[in-house]
């Protein structure tokens, strides 16, 4: 975002000794602090200027609004370097260090999902989604702990890794709940779209689901992708249509047309917009319990 004031005047490089060489803040004019934003994001301000800019930040909505975008962009610069891989021994040294680190608690006994499952297992579903009604439930310590864990998770979910080497992700709370008992994580694979993959995260009972699509080419004009669900002995039913972005990534909220415990197949086809009642295209990606082809 460009800003008025002195920015336009400095759009081109000044000759040596011209405006920017004057003392900042005390000369005939004051260089706008917003113009320090790029150098600050790069970490190129000296200590005094950095301190002054950090005093300015809380008072300036403009700078705060632009700063995170600048920092995210600067963080990308490392991607321009030829990648270098550390020696295998570095990982082993890290393991040894954290196991002997006095500042660390003892090693855990289980995975995060198991740890959270242990906490959430004793909590009624209402802990995750408040139940309506005036009745006040007696709150148990385990419920408090689960609430704290979920609140932590939801808080963390506000920060999304936009530039992740692993592509798009489901909402953290959906991913977590899908990995807990009663949830499902289904990986859709196939040869219809080489290099593409999709994962369906379904929370306990099927009340919420998200489809994460990675590497599916944007469909031609007038075409959409359509998600299908099958239950034993029944024709496939539509789970909705979706698109992907220019990178082939998609994150789609899904309403299951089939009870979760009866889902026997999931498939993705490409169809004419705005979607069709029964699949006509080939199954680009699909899932079945035993990996068998999905029957239409």
């Amino acid at each position: 975002m460009m800003h008025a004031t002195l920015n336009d005047r400095f759009h081109d490089e000044p000759p040596p000794g011209e405006p920017f060489d004057r003392p900042i803040g005390g000369g005939a004019f004051e260089e706008p602090l917003h113009d320090w934003l790029e150098a600050y994001a790069l970490g190129a301000l000296d200590a005094d200027d950095r301190e002054r800019f950090e005093e300015h930040l809380p008072t300036c909505d403009l700078c705060r609004a632009d700063l995170s975008a600048h920092v995210r962009m600067v963080d990308l610069l490392t991607y321009s370097l030829p990648p270098e891989r550390p020696a295998e021994g570095a990982r082993q040294r890290l393991v040894a260090t954290i196991r002997s680190d006095a500042a660390s608690p003892p090693p855990p006994r289980s995975t995060p999902a198991q740890e959270l499952a242990a906490v959430l297992r004793s909590v009624p579903p209402a802990a995750a989604r408040p139940a309506p009604g005036p009745a006040r439930r007696q709150v148990r310590p385990s419920a408090l702990l689960a609430g704290a864990a979920l609140a932590l998770l939801l808080g963390l979910g506000a920060v999304v890794g936009l530039w992740s080497v692993t592509g798009p992700h489901a909402s953290p709370e959906v991913e977590l709940l899908a990995r807990l008992p009663g949830g499902r994580v289904l990986s859709l694979v196939g040869t219809g779209a080489p290099g593409a993959a999709a994962t369906l995260f379904v929370v306990t009972g099927g009340s919420r689901a998200e489809l994460v699509v990675d590497g599916l080419p944007p469909p031609p004009a007038g075409r959409v992708y359509q998600l299908w669900f099958g239950e034993p002995g029944q024709p496939l039913r539509s789970g909705g249509v979706f698109g992907v972005n220019s990178r082939g990534d998609g994150l789609v909220r899904v309403a299951l047309p089939v009870p979760l415990d009866r889902v026997a197949a999931v498939a993705i086809t490409q169809e004419a917009a705005p979607g069709v009642r029964a699949p006509t295209g080939v199954h680009l990606l699909d899932w079945t319990p035993n990996g068998a082809p999905v029957s239409k």
Binding site: H70, R91, V244, V252
Partner: protein, 218 residues
Amino acid sequence: MGDSGHDSAADGTADDLRSASDEMLLLGIRMRDETALLALYDRYSELVFTLAARMLDDREAAEGLLEEVFLRCWRGAASSDRAGRTVPGWLLGQARSRAIELRRERAPGDRSPARAVVREADSPDATESAGASGDGQARPAADDPERTLVVRALAELSPPQREAIELAYFDGLTQAEVAARLGLSIGTVKVRLRDGVRRLRALLGPTLDGHRAGAGGR
């Protein structure tokens, strides 16, 4: 990345977490699950090490720095003081700050580049160049879409803008130090940095903003 020589007890579960989001892994780290830390390490160690090796020009020192960064993450810093940065952004920020400290401890007053400024952005074949593995073996990097985009964006800058940005970011120089190094006025360097970063943001911003926003069905 890192598929051999891993700790046997942790490997199976670290593999299980390969599809977990960064936030899930941080949650696991907060719960003291070392498999979550190793999954995060497997995901970003190469990126962090690449920056550290570039800034320090010393693989052994870079591996030590890599361990420091992930140890700091293990102790909980990544969960508490990220200030809105992405997880890889926080890791890179930690690595860069520590690398600058190490450079200044190693050679006080020496602000010379750790390595020659990367010039591959000038080459149309830049994204086809090879990186180095832990064994010193070259490996193709052409299939990394992030790298392709960033290299192309950097190639859009004027050479003086690119040089100033690379000296500031990869060599940890302040704008006054960049000016001294290049024999330019600080005003000239400020303008090059400012305009270069703005140009990069204009080029990469739509990609960043659209990376997740383009999905339909929401």
